[in-house]
Amino acid sequence: MALEVMARAKGPIPLDVAFRVEHGELLALVGHSGSGKTTLLRTIAGLWRPEVARVTVDGTSWLDTAARIDLPTHHRRVGIVFQNYALFPHMTAAQNVMAAMDVADRYEALRILDLVNLHGLGSRKPAQLSGGQQQRVAVARALARKPQALLLDEPFSAVDRATREKLYGEIIALRAHLAMPVVLVTHDMNEAQLLADRMVVIERGRVVGAGTTAQVMADPEALRAMGIREVAAMLPAVIAEHGPDGLTRLDAATGPLFLPGVEGAPGTQVRVRIMAHEVILSRARPEGLSAQNILAGTVTQIVAGKGPAVTVHVRVGDHEILSRITRRAAEQMALRPGETIHAILKSMSVARDHVACAPDVSVLIKRFQAPICDQF
């Protein structure tokens, strides 16, 4: 069941890809531009037909070139958020949302707009909305279709960084309402890691890495295409307090983390992306060091790739932190799995957009009284 995609084509972009997305799962298709990821999304939507392809949703074929099945786009229950949103410029936000409904229902359209934090903006035209607001209308319109598959085509690339950080949090919150498979196309590894459950890395139309986000982000071979410096771990944390010096204390399972100016009230849940090349390892607990975050943990594995570096997996509490160090350093330290180690992280090394709010979704559901999950 769920969404299954297989596509093979010789050109214009060569493709040989197969993947599957479960209900309620967010899969990120990552790759450079020209890798074929958007072509795959268009294949699912019926906007493109590769030479050999199969798209099945909940057991129903939308496209099966072998069986000569090719449902036209408007017969596929698909919600899509385009890179530039492609809103209908002559319609208001609410009309845009209603346009995707089987039976236009203004009340319902305004409710969905509320869900994407556009309360009171239903009667604005797209030209009167900011980029972030337009993106939210596009998401609302895609949801109004009650899609069996939700497709997001680089939906954050056209907004500024601050808006993007906010939208990340909103998408994370919205996911609690989404029961359908979600496919996110992006070239941004940070975005993929913050938002996706699983990832498929595509290079020149071929899958070069696939698995859970944690697996892919720890796999130097999968990341070779996207840049080995993208190797990173993700830690869930809670904002504990904002210090007077501008540092925010986050409580993570690994112990407190001190990061510069994280936005959000104390108690807010966040996800923090920790880049492996920013983490230093030390056998002894170091003293007199400027770094604010020293986490004690256990080495679980040391993964060597082709290059001069290795990835050390360090278990801290229930979570894993990754550290990219040179093979030489690993040998000099004689690191072995099972040994205790200290992972050191410089506060300033965590970029602002590597922290995403992951709000408590129960609050949102209360705001909309009825649970919306069943509807989508």
Binding site: A45, L47, T73, H74, H75, P89, A99, K125, R141, A142
Partner: protein, 222 residues
């Protein structure tokens, strides 16, 4: 002032615009959205009346629709009179002669719609007809209006083709432009001047309305 000729011209212009509206929508849309081999040739053929002298065009119309032509014979057997030198014949000639004025602006209007917007309409579950009605026509509207006004105004001013295909039969094929020509030939300068001024006023008014409406539509979309 030859009122019969004026009303005949307005009637001819209105019929031409009404008949060309669906043609402009479907041909304009087709040429805007589809890529096919020989598209350039089709577009060139549509533009041909712009560069051909009306006499050349009129000559071929007489050959195609006149007596002893298949179309002329068919018309004769259906309606009991011939097609050329009648109002119907003028409408047919006018429709064909105005194809570039109708199709070209309509095509530009449809081309101005982003591909993603049309794809979004399909992804919203709209059938091609519904997408045309709900999304494409409202967005291509300025282009279509330009097409209709140009067609209307151009038909009012057409002379050569009318003379070739219609002649100058009062109440049947004598349009205002022909009437003006007849007055000048008959040294009735005053009559020619009045009718010419009337035609200038009507044409100016029609085109001014388009500009005013397009400005309104432009505001509505931004």
């Amino acid at each position: 002032m030859d009122w019969t000729a004026l009303f005949l011209s307005l009637r001819l212009a209105a019929w031409t615009a009404v008949i060309l509206l669906p043609v402009a929508v479907f041909m304009g849309r087709f040429l805007a959205f589809r890529q096919f081999g020989g598209k350039g040739l089709v577009e060139a053929a549509v533009m041909l009346p712009l560069v051909l002298p009306p006499t050349v065009f009129g000559f071929y119309m007489l050959v195609a629709f006149g007596r002893n032509s298949p179309i002329g014979d068919l018309w004769q057997s259906l309606f009991g009179h011939q097609l050329v030198f009648t109002f119907e014949g003028l409408v047919v000639a006018s429709v064909i002669f105005n194809l570039p004025f109708a199709i070209q602006p309509a095509q530009r209007g449809f081309e101005a719609i982003a591909v993603e917007v049309r794809e979004a309409a399909a992804c919203c579950g709209m059938s091609p007809m519904r997408s045309l009605w709900k999304v494409e026509l409202p967005l291509a509207w300025p282009g279509l209006m330009t097409a209709m006004v140009l067609t209307f105004a151009h038909t009012l001013g057409e002379f050569g083709i009318v003379l070739m295909v219609g002649g100058s039969i009062p109440g049947e094929t004598r349009t205002i432009a022909i009437a003006i020509y007849d007055r000048v030939q008959g040294f009735d300068d005053r009559g020619a001047a009045i009718m010419s001024a009337t035609l200038v006023a009507i044409s100016l008014f029609t085109i001014a309305i388009t500009y005013w409406l397009s400005a309104r539509v432009g505001r509505r979309l931004s």
